[in-house]
């Protein structure tokens, strides 16, 4: 589904990603772990199409197409979803109606009719229930005055509404209490399926107890330095990154 090859990315003239190669097949969940500043969010943004990132080398193929050529909204319509590490507040734009516009734009792209208000509200109720997002939060302005945990739940609620093929979750677990973590993980697991893939960025092995990954990568200084199964996450939790670091820099 997603094939990243030797991806090099610069921001403001500084090279952040230094040759990432990653292959995620449909049905798989990959986790990326790595110290602060190693480039995890940069990778997520580049995949979602944020401006300001210059790809100096390498390629990204998504469902057989060149992902890097698509506008962000086309990527979304093609099924890419980014759960933001720091979701921005948008005062004056209603959460639920903005999502309706998004969903219907995506449906239009796929040649489907727009959902009418009643069907949309029904769907919204169901999905908000899934992540236990209070009804009144769906109606407020996007992330405006939401607590940290509420913002993250809102990301998962939006993901559940949009049903992406490739979900990239950037530290969706940070700032969540244990109960919220379970709720979010359930939301993610509900979306898992043979047609979908996920890239889960996290600092904590704890999340991976709930969302069990097929593959775990360690990203340090813009490179994937180690790839393994879920046990790699456990080892990192126990030993930290120094051992991996030492292994690559003898």
């Amino acid at each position: 589904m997603l094939k990243i090859e030797d991806l090099h990315v610069e921001v403001d003239g500084k090279t952040i990603l230094k040759g990432i190669t990653l292959d995620i097949a449909a049905g798989e969940v990959h986790a990326i772990m790595g110290p602060n500043g190693s480039g995890k969010s940069t990778l997520a943004y580049v995949l979602a199409g944020r401006e300001g990132y210059e790809v100096t080398k390498g390629s990204v193929t998504y469902k057989g197409q060149n992902l890097l050529e698509m506008e962000p909204e086309i990527r979304a319509a093609e099924g890419v979803f980014l759960g933001f590490q720091y979701p921005v507040a948008i005062p004056g734009v209603s959460n639920i109606y903005f999502l309706k516009a998004a969903l219907n734009a995506i449906r239009k792209h796929r040649g489907q009719d727009p959902l009418d208000a009643i069907d949309f509200m029904k769907l919204s109720k169901e999905k908000a229930g899934l992540v236990q997002l209070p009804d009144q939060l769906t109606k407020r302005s996007v992330n405006d005055g939401f607590s940290g945990g509420e913002k993250k739940r809102n990301e998962i609620y939006q993901m559940a509404m949009l049903e992406p093929s490739l979900a990239i979750l950037d530290e969706t677990d940070s700032g969540l209490d244990i109960d919220a973590l379970k709720v979010v993980a359930e939301g993610v697991n509900a979306l898992r399926g043979p047609e979908r893939a996920m890239l889960v960025i996290t600092h904590y092995q704890r999340l991976l107890d709930y969302i069990v990954p097929d593959v775990v990568h360690v990203l340090i200084d813009g490179r994937i330095v180690r790839t393994g199964d879920k046990n790699l996450a456990k080892q990192l939790e126990r030993d930290g990154y120094s051992e991996v670091r030492d292994a690559i820099q003898p």
């Binding site: 506008e71 979304a76 921005v88 948008i90 734009v93 209603s94 109606y97 516009a101």
Partner: protein, 402 residues
């Protein structure tokens, strides 16, 4: 009267006026004298520095038929709206010393004082509180110059919501309006003004506030070949409060120019100004607001904020909020920003699948809508939102999503 420009018109003003009660003839005479002596503003006049005032002063207009001013809502019980002409004829002394309370006007306001033929007097007696807004419309049907004049008196503890709309598709006209509001002790007046007129407009709003009164003004300006509005409030009694809000949207080659002035003359008064604007195309927007805290106005609280979005390289924004403080025990703040749409917000919307142009329109709308959101009366908010939606790309989709 024949076709003429305001510039030639002031030369032909009579030195003594023949019709109407004596006090009004004197008032008009003083206005005419002031105009003959001082003329209309030029680019060199400090307060008109950024206004392309020549295009108004030297343009030739034909006289409009009547002043095209009408009350379009049912009048709530207790409120009267009378024709100024009729009041001046039937009770000539009634408005003596009340109309024109702000003193001898200058420039365009003086021209209005000299030449208005009719207008409206809206009166809310002491203790009368009405919830239903009074809506008046100035509709300019054809290219001409008109002098709408509105006088509002709100008695002690009276409450009123006044909505004014300025409409008309005719580009060649000039609306030169003066609105005066005399707000009594403990009275509350909300004043909404919607400019949807494509022609030229110069307007003046003068407010006088007695003790413990509240005046809230919300101005929405949706383009206009040239618009210049001065809103002035005089906080004359202890504990009075005024809120001056505005939202403007400038496109094409529009020029809109909002000036505010709040005079804190009494202690323990509060004023708050929030203006937001967007300029695109080759449009120009000006905000110039001043708060003057006079010597005895201790315990004043005054805030002023002007935020702008500049959406094209060819658009221009001038912003100048400023303070003049002569008292020492006051809390004042002022600030201005000019920026672009927030990239993080745009990306968030697009990353969810919203096309770029719709995302732009949504953020543009939200930016100005926050001003409308501060209006207390729900049907009035809806009315204002509709006016804004009509001017924003993807209006129908925006209506759906907000």
């Amino acid at each position: 009267m024949t076709d003429s420009s305001p510039k030639t018109l002031i030369q032909s003003l009579p030195s003594s006026f023949e019709a109407g009660p004596e006090w009004l003839r004197l008032l008009r005479g003083r206005a005419a004298d002031a105009l003959r002596a001082g003329g209309l503003p030029t680019k060199k006049t400090e307060a008109w520095r950024f206004t392309p005032v020549r295009s108004v002063v030297e343009a030739v207009f034909s006289p409009a038929e009547g002043d095209a001013l009408s009350v379009v809502s049912a009048l709530p019980e207790g409120v009267t709206a009378r024709s100024l002409r009729e009041v001046l004829e039937s009770e000539p002394g009634l408005l003596d010393g009340r109309l024109d309370f702000a003193g001898t006007p200058e420039h365009f306001a003086a021209l209005n004082t000299a030449l208005f033929t009719d207008g409206l007097w809206i009166d809310v007696p002491d203790g009368t509180a009405v919830d239903t807004p009074v809506e008046i419309t100035h509709a300019i049907g054809r290219a001409g110059v008109s002098y709408p004049r509105v006088f509002v008196t709100a008695g002690e503890s009276a409450e009123l919501t006044l909505i004014e709309t300025y409409q008309g598709e005719t580009v060649g006209g000039l609306t030169n309006s003066v609105v005066e509001l005399d707000v009594g002790r403990n009275a509350k007046v909300s004043h909404v003004r919607i400019h949807e007129n494509a022609g030229m407009q110069v307007g003046r709003v003068d407010v006088r506030q007695a003790a413990d009164s509240v005046y809230r003004s919300t101005v929405i300006t949706l383009g206009g070949a040239l618009l210049r509005l001065d809103v002035r409030s005089l906080l004359d009694g202890k504990g009075a409060e005024c809120q001056l809000d505005g939202a403007y949207l400038v496109e094409g080659e529009d020029h809109v120019d909002h000036h505010t002035r709040v005079d804190h003359r009494a202690p323990h008064c509060r004023s708050n100004q929030t203006y937001r604007g967007i300029a695109s195309g080759k449009g120009t927007a000006v905000f110039d607001g001043i708060v003057i805290v006079h010597r005895d106005a201790q315990k004043t609280e005054a805030h002023q904020e002007n935020r702008n979005l500049l959406l094209s390289d060819t658009a221009t924004i001038h912003t100048k909020p400023h303070l003049e403080i002569d008292a020492d025990d006051v809390v004042c703040s002022h600030g201005a920003t000019v920026g672009a749409l927030d990239e993080d917000q745009l990306f968030y919307l697009r990353a969810r699948g919203i096309p770029a142009d719709l995302a732009h329109a949504m953020l543009t709308y939200a930016f100005l809508e926050s001003i409308i959101d501060r209006v207390g009366h729900e049907p009035t908010r809806t009315r204002m939102r509709e006016a804004l939606i009509a001017r924003i790309p993807h209006g129908d989709e925006i209506r759906e999503v907000t």
